[in-house]
């Protein structure tokens, strides 16, 4: 089996594995020094592939939009903004674990899908930067809605974070690990009509951050079910593990 796993190094660094295969290979990596070294070696090569692309100039307006966005960001040492929690029924105390999760958004939104993410999350959890990131998200007008655990997963906690623009994120913590042949699938519902907006694996005792494929505006319910992997189902078929009502 080890030999077979070793053959997956190329596909792994090219992100060409299914979620199940990826999880399995990661377990192998944890115990195989040779594969870890090869991953580093080959990832350095994939980092250069963008250079092969024919150059195209973006529109002039893009620069202005990015800089305007950067200038609108609050400075880290500014006075902490008043928390603006859109789901007003949630007391600040009950939001605490959710905000803790929401801080991870700051990392997810960063697109920091690289080697140091785990370390950074740990670091942020232990510093005021963590809270500042949370404040920054909320100050930018993001809506944070609690999604409660259901059934055997009643102790799970999740938050749906919807920025003012673009697609949202679901932050999940405390779920049971999904079996290797199943995935968790996120649904947004308008009335009784569900729409699949993402699938994810959950296998570690830390928050998972699930970028959603569409904004949650106009949807009334968010839910997570356990579905056949790796792609999930067209409609919800499995047990509901998280469910929460959204303000339409």
């Amino acid at each position: 089996m080890i030999d077979n796993q070793h053959d997956l190094v190329g596909a792994f660094v090219l992100d060409a594995l299914s979620p199940d295969e990826r999880l399995s290979f990661e377990r192998h990596l944890a115990t195989c020094q040779a594969c870890r070294a090869e991953v580093v070696e080959l990832r350095a090569v994939t980092n250069l592939l963008p250079l092969a692309v024919d150059p195209i100039e973006p529109s002039a307006g893009l620069r202005a939009r990015i800089m305007a966005g950067a200038r609108a960001e609050p400075l880290p040492n500014q006075a902490r903004p008043q928390l603006r929690v859109v789901r007003g029924r949630l007391a600040r105390r009950t939001l605490a674990p959710i905000l803790g999760l929401a801080a991870a958004i700051a990392i997810a939104a960063l697109g920091v899908w690289n080697f140091q993410l785990r370390h950074d999350l740990d670091h942020l959890r232990s510093t005021s930067a963590f809270q500042q990131q949370v404040d920054a998200q909320l100050a930018r007008g993001a809506t944070v809605t609690r999604i409660a655990g259901s059934g055997p997963d009643a102790s799970a906690v999740a938050a749906l974070v919807q920025p003012r623009h673009g697609a949202g994120y679901l932050i999940v913590d405390g779920l049971r690990s999904n079996p290797s042949n199943r995935v968790y699938q996120v649904w947004l519902m308008r009335g009784t009509k569900p729409r699949s907006v993402g699938v994810f694996n959950y296998g570690q005792s830390q928050p998972a951050i699930v970028p959603l494929s569409t904004p949650s505006f106009g949807f009334t319910v968010a839910a997570v079910t356990l579905e056949p992997g790796p792609l999930g189902s067209r409609l919800p078929t499995g047990p509901k593990v998280l469910v929460g009502r959204l303000s339409a």
């Binding site: 190329g10 991953v39 350095a44 090569v45 092969a52 195209i56 800089m67 400075l75 700051a106 970028p211």
Partner: protein, 190 residues
Amino acid sequence: MVAEPRGDGELMAAIQGRDVSALEAFYDRHRVLAYSLAMRVLGSQNEAEDVVQEAFLNLWRAADTYRSDRSSARSWLLSIVHNRSIDKLRGRRTRVQAAALEAAMDIPDRTDVWREVSQALTGQDVRRALAQLPPEQREAIELAYFQGRTHTEIAELTEVPLGTVKGRMRLGLHKLRSLLETSQTGMALE
């Protein structure tokens, strides 16, 4: 007297200090590469600009988490652009756990020499090296990296066994590394 342009490391340090002019300089230097990559993956001007905008703003917000000993600033930016582009293409499945697991691994970085070489490589070097790969290896790499295809999908598309696709990806990347090293130094480094 004209000031020397600031290097990426210096710009990242200034960005960490919330210097917007440093972000402007960093954008001006890497905008074409970032946008071209997003366009190559997504093929849509609007989507590509969204991804690039998101990537630079994310870099601005996350500058404090950047580690120069882990990757160059350019690689960091481009990995954000690539991941976001592929996520858009595939319907945004999460990859957080993968990153977290890799983070937990203490992988010795023995790529200093390679890193120096890679910084000096140009687009022409990389295109030339890709062109020298056996066509089937190049195809497997490009379908995965630029089109977000899984190895199973590539096996179906190209009608070859899955094991062959795995081998083409792995061998192709090793061969590419070797070609790139040679293109810079005239000889293999390892």
